[in-house]
Symmetry: C2
Subunit: 322 residues, 2 copies
């Protein structure tokens, strides 16, 4: 990757869910050359564009470029993967037409082990991972309600951040995203799990509750802390130090979020795929592989897995009845 | 307790739930002098008596003696407590009028710490605990459907079984109950937890599933085993050895039970009290007090506690609407 990142890069965004629309709208609004690849709602997106509401802003991008196949888009300088890891199979055919020799591929996917399958397709050298601290929800095609814009941390897969990663971060900052490049992506991913594992998981297992209800329950709050401690201990075995104050901070932030529905709960309740393996399964397996004790995280994994299976069976039965 | 247990003891049974009706019907049918103390359905019980259906028998006791207060019954030789531990407060006024100097008080309550509050009322010397391995359900006042009659193990509180405990066991055997007296009641109670903790608990937390569904789920089945192992380890710290084969046996027995709804799940779903502290809370506290690691059992306790609180809040809201 010796050529410099262009000032006006050609950008492809794969997926127009909450994240794709949110970051896409910001990039379009900032005057970037953005090409959206979507599976559905293409006509609606072309007709209506994107509308994003945050607590302080309204961003509207009326004219956007929307495509139904990667070949129509062609080679780009930056590919942003905004689909869920559970839909990774499709990337095998989507990504190759979008690549130049030095295209950066940025994945916004959650959890552990999300860079590896992408690296298998495009090679490890160009993969950049993003950890999005954000609370947003797609309410209609192209329409996103963002309760908490937060920040984005990006890092190069398996290596310290280089010039290109820094350039991608700068591009996102120019579009109004609080973004910084860090040297240890893996450590950042473990940090993100500290919130995601307990709050996304318990919200589902405790019967579909928002985070305010969760932390108002004494037992669940203590359980969330115990789960966080397991993650801290497991991360430490991989050399990633997560401070006690970071754990405390999660509760302070959560208290400020009000009646927040974690994204996995929304996915669960709306019948969509949940990143079960990325957020719970893979962390449990990695922790156990280095001898870290994660009994509660494993129990949570099993409980979510069963709930998902039960939900899917119920959806199937309902579909058969129609 | 020097006087011998009478050949035809005067027996009081407190409560006409599934267990009170089941054992009561057997004792009445065997010609024993049984006096039922009930809070509700007195007229129905007097008019219709008791009807018990097991896989092999139909037991009908048409004429039974039913009372609304302990004073009407007066002193007995044996008092059988067939109400839940969650209703123990009432025993403070119920038990004293039923006592002679040497009355045996047999509690059928589930879990750990159920003898202590009774001993506080009647003195420890007369308390006998029963562990009922039974699957039965009250379907209407006085009507019990018993899918699995099982057996009953009784033991003296804090002491080896004496003559009187043996006499109570013999009385129950004469009434057709497979009953034996054991010397170590506490060890028996830990044995019972091996099944109750995982199956009663997970059935609730996993969204109201029967035991066949539970053991068909790979993760939940493994989780049930891990929970059992925690109980085995905790029990060992108290000097109670539970064998590996006993753990295996639980799964074999459960496989034969079919689509079984654990009693706590029934209680949970029908809006009744659940023995949260006796089956989960107290075992967790005792285990932790001796340094046994019970992370999964504690997590299960917290999850059930939250589900119960949510259920109670929903019931309250519904009652207000009426």
């Amino acid at each position: 990757m010796s050529t410099p990142f262009p000032d006006k890069p050609r950008i492809a965004i794969i997926g127009a869910g909450a994240l794709g629309c949110y970051y896409g709208a910001r990039l379009v609004k900032a005057g970037e050359d953005v090409h959206f690849l979507v599976r559905s709602n293409r006509a609606a997106l072309m007709a209506q564009g994107l509308k994003v509401k945050t607590p302080t802003e309204r961003i509207s991008a009326r004219k956007i470029q929307v495509y139904g196949s990667a070949n129509e888009i062609g080679p780009c300088d930056l590919v942003i993967i905004a689909t869920k890891a559970t839909a990774n199979e499709a990337l095998k055919s989507i990504l190759p037409p979008l690549l130049k020799p030095d295209t950066a591929v940025l994945t916004l996917q959650n959890g552990l082990g999300v860079e590896e399958p992408i690296a298998d397709i495009v090679g490890p050298g160009r993969v950049v991972g993003a950890i999005c601290y954000i609370g947003c929800m797609r309410t209609a095609p192209g329409v996103v309600s963002c309760s908490f814009p937060g920040l984005m941390t990006i890092g190069k897969f398996g290596k310290p951040a280089g010039e290109r990663t820094q350039a991608v971060a700068a591009l996102l900052r120019r579009a109004g995203v609080k973004c910084n490049a860090q040297d240890n992506l893996e450590a950042q991913r473990w940090h993100k799990l500290v919130w995601n594992v307990p709050f996304n998981g318990l919200a589902i297992v405790a019967g579909g509750i928002t985070t305010d209800v969760l932390i108002a329950d004494e037992g669940l709050k203590l359980l969330a802390r115990r789960l966080m401690e397991e993650i801290v201990e497991a991360a430490a075995k991989f050399g990633h130090e997560i401070s006690r104050s970071f754990v405390d901070l999660q509760f302070e932030r959560t208290a400020m979020m009000g009646a927040y529905r974690p994204s996995s709960l929304i996915d669960f309740e709306e019948g969509r795929d949940v990143e079960l393996e990325e957020i719970w399964g893979e962390p449990v397996r990695r922790a156990k592989s280095v001898g870290a004790a994660v009994p509660r995280m494993e129990m949570l994994y099993w409980l979510i897995k069963q709930r998902l299976a039960a939900r899917n069976a119920a959806l199937k039965a309902k579909a058969r009845k129609r």
